[in-house]
Symmetry: C2
Subunit: 557 residues, 2 copies
């Protein structure tokens, strides 16, 4: 079981890694090595799949793998061409390779096309189903979504490939996956695996990819489950690993049973009434891996964080330091004339705790110069959101100037509550290369801060107890413009994650005016989110590629 | 034939407009009125379709339409619920309504899921096919894509709904469409309609929507074609229209034949070797409608354009004035210490020609203050792209400040060549609410400028003859960083629109080093385009929702 991290389109690196694993497995006496879905090119390759050159590169990679597939069989995911004229040009396939040649190609049947998935954009569904004969056993090979269609009340698809494969009486299921992480994914994965083995009464080997691809995180957790639903083996979460399992059709698995609950819920914080509890440990690991691999795969080393003394930038900074090392994370303090003293002192204390470098650039002089330049136009119009945004945008310009001069990547610190309601400034605090906290509501950011501080006070306690404020005008508080976060976040969660409409929300007990006001804010600010950077996805419904809404629309707005 | 412009999610406005058309048709003695695809909710509704409340609102709208559907039959597009447990929850449907009730619901079979389309994300395909009996005739009703699958060599789908419907020997085809415009769409539409009538030997009534939905433009052009492939009627392009056609199965159509070529290629400018000729008249109309409806549907009136004295901002300004009126378009001139004199004088002359207001704010003082504030950090490091970007971003802050203070929407002026190569500054000249020229390469922008000047010199000639420059350092020219646009644009067109890879491009005669350099620029700047505003789409492959690429990848980069 090769649980590996691939780099999209980097065929050289991916093939080297795959071949190294094959050699390792062969040297250890392995008979079959299984890689994950679309391992050759990395998942998701998106519209690169529309380039003939890209598919050709995939095929060259398969040829290179054939060269080493001797004395061991290989199952590896890659696109394949549909030779039938009708239908889309590609399949999402598993190549079965042995004796230095491709002996069989299995195609994915169920093509997910919801949330972050776009597979029907590229691939045709399988339309016939064959098991693979290997050493006297029949293997039922499926790809990711193919085994997720076990909802007996409202299945998403009209038929199941496993049902078809069972007609050939296979001995073992093998599933190649690239199944994205969210904070309930480990439980979902175990549940679906168990439902499959219990329904079909044969064991399952499930190989998932691991790693982060811009916004999408894969947590690994590849596993083996016997026909009775016992978890035989589970690979690490958030780490590459080669796992070995020994199976004899009659005698079963040699490995001892690993208890699933070892890796499952720890650190679940008390939920709000209408929001789920959070496994903050898992979210922390996902975000740290997300940051780290974003830098590694782009070839960058150093991050810049605009450190305001608030909880969002504090948590972002702590995560960045964990991902990249304190020496690679620059904090930039950008106080204005409206910043409170504690903003600077809290941010300084934070960087002292984290041992990362920080710099202070006051923005007042630049702001005054903007006011002067604009005075022939603004005349004596009162201070309003225009001036608030100028301050936020000056900070954006300064942060990007350092980024351009020194090669830092600016990490964005906006949280999901702000992004949902539009409580942020485009080109100002909404600037950055990747959104670290954009998939966590404000109350969830506080929970993550508590987790970070669980052993020692990394984030100064004052940051966690003071009322949130953008500090763009004297005495400003978030609560001047927004409802209390405890209520706001529940409504947002019900609207965004659960797709509850106004009548359902009112039936849940929220005030009709408040519901209308919040839903209107969410829908009217689609244009801002549309220009936002990618967000590391940790929930089942993040802003970005997985949530697609019209900008020019008038619904609940 | 009701060719109408809908507002996504604005059920009240859409239903009022639909009911008014039904009343008009009824008063004129009409027997059947046909509306376009998803007319009730507007196309594309995207993930609003995942909200039960949204579907419920669609159904209420259908009920309201039933109330007036007496003495006339109505065919109107709306989502419908899939009552079968298996498969997705919705169909993309045509409701046949008469005698105040829904008598039949026809579902779309072929669900486009390429380019800007995501229909398989929401809809299940039809799996049985019935004609509609109406006044002794059988109607074969299909929805948009259902009739576009007439490629005999490489059809995108595995079967055709029209083939199934033909088994019932229908008398007439009716197609409800929401088929997006691009600069070859009118020819494509006529060709596909003719292929259908000639293949199935029955006439076709084709009703398309018109209007603009953020980035997607619909050009109308609804039409009627007899069984011999003669164009009987064609409604206006880029305008709402109610068209009447009288048909008797035996005697055929009463209308005289309209010549298709009346509306087809005029103004095709001389193409480059590897780029198509452009119908600039059509592109001009699409962009003007795109701007106008973006403002109308968002409820804004006034636009702001940063007017640099270059061709991109000049063309954008001219289009904005055509769309919104000169009094509603503010030009903002933002010269720096590196701006040439002619930049200001050309921009002034342009606004004098267009008769729109303009203001001048010099950015030097703010730039100097940024340098001063940054001096403890930048020390004596040489002037480079960091300082260039600061200037561009100061302009962004000033433009957004006016936007925030006075309620203008900032129009973005970036062209497709710049966006492709990353020759633009995030949060600087890449700021704005909607990209007017983002789907036109630089050489195409010049062609459009010539079109705008075809009768009278609106854009000062000096703007069209001087070498393009960002003017962010002394003596800077685009050609310092980029290949000549004539060559660059051909390579970009072949890569982006035609998905040609490096070996195909080299085979076309381009230098290998140049090809590699340009493809690398395109792929490495995905992160910038990811934060760009929506672009009014006029080509078959625009940046944005219709072109989805990974950010963290290493392919041809």
């Amino acid at each position: 079981m090769a649980q590996q991290n691939y780099h999209i389109g980097n065929f050289k690196a991916n093939v080297d890694k795959i071949i190294a694993a094959i050699q390792t497995a062969k040297n250890a006496g392995g008979e079959l090595i299984v890689f994950s879905e679309l391992a050759i090119c990395g998942y998701p390759p998106r519209d690169f799949l529309e380039f003939d050159d890209f598919i050709h590169s995939c095929q060259q990679a398969i040829s290179a793998i054939c060269e080493v597939a001797e004395g061991i069989a290989v199952l590896v995911g890659a696109p394949s061409r549909n030779e039938v004229p009708e239908g889309k040009d590609l399949f999402n396939s598993a190549y079965f390779i042995q004796n230095k040649r491709v002996e069989q190609i299995i195609h994915k049947t169920l093509l997910p096309n919801y949330d972050v998935f776009d597979e029907y954009r590229y691939f045709e569904s399988a339309f016939d189903w064959q098991t693979i004969s290997f050493k006297g056993k029949k293997l039922a090979v499926t790809i990711c979504e193919d085994i997720w269609d076990i909802d007996d009340t409202q299945p998403l698809y009209r038929f199941s490939p496993m049902e078809r494969l069972m007609e050939q009486q296979p001995d073992l299921m093998i599933n190649l996956s690239a199944s994205p992480f969210d904070y309930t994914h480990a439980e979902d994965r175990l549940a679906i695996v168990k439902r499959n083995v219990l329904r079909y009464q044969i064991p399952l080997i499930y190989v998932n990819t691991v790693g982060s691809q811009t916004e999408i995180v894969f947590d690994g957790g590849s596993l083996v489950c016997d026909a009775q639903g016992n978890l035989i083996k589970e690979l690490n979460y958030f780490e590459e690993e080669l796992g070995v399992v020994t199976w004899d059709g009659a005698a079963g698995f040699e490995e001892s049973i690993k208890i699933a609950s070892e890796k499952l819920p720890d650190e679940v914080l008390a939920p709000n009434r209408l929001m789920p509890g959070l496994n903050t440990d898992r979210i922390y690991q996902a975000l740290v891996m997300g940051i780290r691999q974003y830098f590694e795969k782009l070839g960058f080393k150093q991050a810049l964080v605009a450190s305001s003394g608030g909880v969002d930038s504090a948590v972002t900074l702590a995560l960045a330091v964990a991902a990249l090392g304190p020496e690679n994370v620059q904090a930039l303090l950008l106080p204005s004339q409206f910043s409170s003293e504690h903003s600077v002192s809290d941010a300084q204390q934070l960087s002292q705790n984290l041992n990362n470098p920080y710099q202070i650039l006051a923005i007042a002089d630049i702001f005054n110069q903007f006011e002067q330049t604009l005075s022939p136009v603004f005349k004596d119009l009162p201070f309003n959101v225009a001036e608030e945004n100028i301050q936020s945008r000056i900070r954006g310009v300064l942060a990007m100037a350092l980024s351009n001069k020194f090669g830092y990547i600016l990490l964005n610190t906006s949280n999901k509550s702000e992004l949902a309601t539009g409580y942020g400034t485009l080109y100002g605090d909404m600037a950055g290369g990747i959104g670290v906290l954009g998939d966590l509501y404000k109350t969830q950011v506080y929970a993550l801060a508590q987790y970070i501080n669980r052993k020692v006070e990394i984030i100064p306690n004052h940051i966690l107890v003071k009322p949130p404020s953008a500090e763009l005008r004297p005495g400003q508080k978030d609560s001047d413009s927004l409802p209390e976060y405890e209520v706001l976040d529940q409504i947002l969660y019900q609207y965004i994650e659960c797709r509850q409409g106004p009548s359902e929300l009112i039936a849940q007990g929220f005030e009709p005016e408040l519901v209308q006001r919040i839903l209107q804010m969410v829908n009217r600010n689609e244009y801002k989110r549309n220009q936002f950077c990618p967000i590391i996805r940790v929930s089942p419904k993040a802003f970005g590629i997985g949530r697609r809404l019209p900008i020019v629309a008038k619904y609940l707005g």
